[in-house]
């Protein structure tokens, strides 16, 4: 019996110890590749909906939106498609704004903002056969931004043979709390100038498009997205090294934008160095874009005899 008590006490103590280790850690929320997550609320509606003649056959489709990234979502649209509006008379979209609390992950909100939307409507029985099985798509388009901060080493004169505080090296990253981010930075130091090759990548499963027209272009009455013009475009708002804005020294951007090719592309930025001592500093890149993510689920509507 004594042994048992001893083991229990040990387990409790060990549990407490492991938890304490994480308690005071300040989490970096600008990690990962999450943006807005779109999911159907389980069983809302159920996989099979039974309808009957002579009754008001209501259907409600519930969608969960969760901001898994680090940026706040201040505007966007949630669009339902895949069904015939003549059969399922439900609203096809809903616009969301800053008031919908889809804030990004932060120390104050480590889980990120969350909201649910219901699309309520009814089944038009005469318009359907005995069964109607649409594949419902929920598409969210939203404006998002990525703020990347990477530690880089600047060596103003790499050919000098003397002890260095740091040695420039390439940097790889797997996401900065957004679906679009910097995947790699190649650092090439030359005498008096450091060249950065900054790679951008779409880490997510969705499509990125220019934020110039706003994500409302996703709306049915917005005419859809003119993909040839807007798809795969991100706006590089600012590239800074330490406190110095080097955006003007970047090549490979047309009007501040970069078009991704197969989900990736890069720009070159240069920084004119001074002195001879190497040092560590922060390369920060700020991007803006609209992002489109789609999820689907099947629904079967069965007419009861």
């Amino acid at each position: 019996m004594k042994k048992l008590i001893l083991i229990l006490v040990l387990i409790v103590l060990l549990y407490g110890c492991t938890n304490n280790n994480n308690r005071d850690t300040i989490e970096n929320f600008r990690t990962g590749t999450g943006g807005l997550s779109v999911s159907f609320i389980p069983n809302h509606p159920p996989a099979k909906v039974y309808v009957r003649n002579g009754e008001v056959n209501e259907v409600s489709i519930g969608i969960n939106l969760k901001n898994l990234g680090a940026a706040d979502i201040t505007g966007g649209a949630l669009v339902l498609s895949g069904y015939d509006p003549g059969i399922l008379a439900i609203p096809s979209y809903r616009v969301f704004t800053a008031s919908d609390d889809l804030v990004g992950k932060s120390a104050f909100n480590p889980q990120g903002g969350f909201n649910s939307f219901d699309f309520n409507g009814a089944v038009n029985l005469p318009a359907m056969g005995d069964r109607y099985s649409p594949n419902i798509l929920a598409t969210a388009c939203y404006d998002y931004s990525t703020f990347t901060e990477l530690s880089v080493c600047i060596d103003p004169d790499p050919y000098l043979t003397k002890p260095r505080a740091c040695t420039p090296s390439n940097i790889a990253s797997s996401g900065q709390g957004a679906p679009i981010g910097v995947s790699k930075v190649n650092v090439e130091p030359t005498k008096g100038r450091t060249i950065f090759q900054i790679f951008f990548k779409n880490f997510g499963n969705g499509d990125v498009f220019s934020s110039a027209y706003g994500s409302a272009r996703c709306l049915p009455n917005g005419g859809g997205i003119d993909e040839r013009q807007e798809l795969d475009i991100i706006i590089v708002r600012k590239v800074k090294l330490g406190n110095q804005d080097i955006t003007a020294n970047c090549k490979g951007m047309g009007w501040g934008s970069v078009r991704l090719n197969n989900g990736e592309n890069f720009i070159y930025c240069t920084y004119d160095t001074q002195g001879t001592d190497s040092y560590q500093t922060v390369l920060s890149v700020e991007m803006g874009y609209s992002y489109r993510i789609t999820t689907s689920r099947s629904l079967e509507i069965v007419k009861l005899p």
Partner: protein, 320 residues
């Protein structure tokens, strides 16, 4: 103490089991599915057969004649209701068989979700086999059925607004999904659609959906113009070739009526026969996302079907 432990153990077991999906399903917590059969399938309408030994395959005929009973089993194996004007006529050579009554009407419900077999009936016709001139002979008894039938075919169709896959946006469905309509096996009646092709005609920023519905007589009988009444058909309509193989077709896509042309269609058994169903005022913007819709195809026709049996007759002398 042992009793208390037992009670605790049983309570624990029940609590654990109640968490299981099997148990929760029993109490309504799991996913339930009603079994509602799809009735709009199959190629049969009114199925006829002779009752065993009615008529017999051979009869001994006396000088005064011999009674004969012909019983026909009827079973409505399709989805349409057989209305009052459904006519059953027994045909026999009057020089051999004199029937008391050679025709009858019948009303039979078709198969529904609740009655998967459809309604059935027996019709009995009586008469006398006439005295034979020869010592042995044969004759044929046939039964004709004439009835009005209608079918409804229910199909899920994809209105693919980006058939060339130019856009990168995910699609709820695609044109390829409509390939499943390439081979259809009947919709609960002897005449129905054996194939449907979904045609999305591109216009400027819009698509005009059209449906090519191939009509086929799956049965052994013949289709006739539904505007000729079944009773007339069973009497004299068979001689009117202008009413032969005529089927009326209409269609509906969700809440939109589609007109089919030609309507009616004359189906040639040796050929592929199709109507094109369209709605002049209906088009879909190419900016709309692709979606699934519901196509219902209706067909109306009169149908003539027949069964027959050969009867051997043998003269016998009656002894007084």
């Amino acid at each position: 103490m042992l009793k208390i432990l037992k009670i605790f153990f049983i309570a624990f077991l029940l609590l654990t089991l109640s968490g299981c999906s099997v148990i929760s399903g029993l109490f309504g917590g799991g996913n339930t599915n009603l079994d509602i059969p799809d009735i709009h399938k199959g190629t049969e309408g009114l199925k006829m057969s002779f009752e065993k030994n009615q008529p017999l395959s051979s009869y001994k005929v006396t000088d005064a004649g011999t009674p004969i009973t012909i019983t026909v089993n009827l079973e409505n194996k399709g989805t349409s209701v057989l209305a009052e004007d459904t006519t059953i006529v027994v045909n026999a050579d009057k020089s051999y068989i004199a029937l008391d009554n050679d025709r009858s009407n019948v009303v039979l419900q078709g198969i529904t979700e609740r009655y998967s077999k459809g309604e059935s009936a027996k019709l009995t016709f009586t008469g006398m086999i006439q005295p034979l001139r020869l010592s042995e002979d044969t004759t044929i008894v046939s039964v004709n059925a004439c009835y009005r039938y209608s079918i409804e075919g229910h199909y899920s169709v994809c209105i693919d607004t980006d058939p060339s896959n130019i856009k990168t946006q995910k699609k709820a469905c695609s044109s390829a999904d409509n390939n499943k309509l390439g081979s259809l096996g009947g919709q609960g009646g002897p005449v129905g659609a054996n194939k449907i092709e979904v045609v999305l005609n591109p216009r400027l920023n819009t698509l005009k959906p059209q449906f090519m519905v191939y009509v086929k007589n799956f049965g052994s009988g013949r289709a006739f113009d539904a505007f000729a009444s079944p009773a007339t058909l069973c009497s004299s309509g068979l001689t009117d070739s202008s009413a032969l193989n005529i089927v009326y077709v209409t269609a509906k896509l969700a809440d939109k009526e589609f007109k089919c042309s030609p309507n009616p269609i004359v189906i040639n058994p040796e050929d592929e026969n199709f109507v094109i169903c369209s709605n002049d005022g209906f088009s879909v913007s190419t900016d709309t996302a692709s979606y699934s819709s519901s196509l219902i195809v209706y067909m109306v026709y009169d149908y003539f079907d027949s069964i027959s049996q050969e009867i051997s007759l043998k003269k016998v002398k009656t002894t007084n």
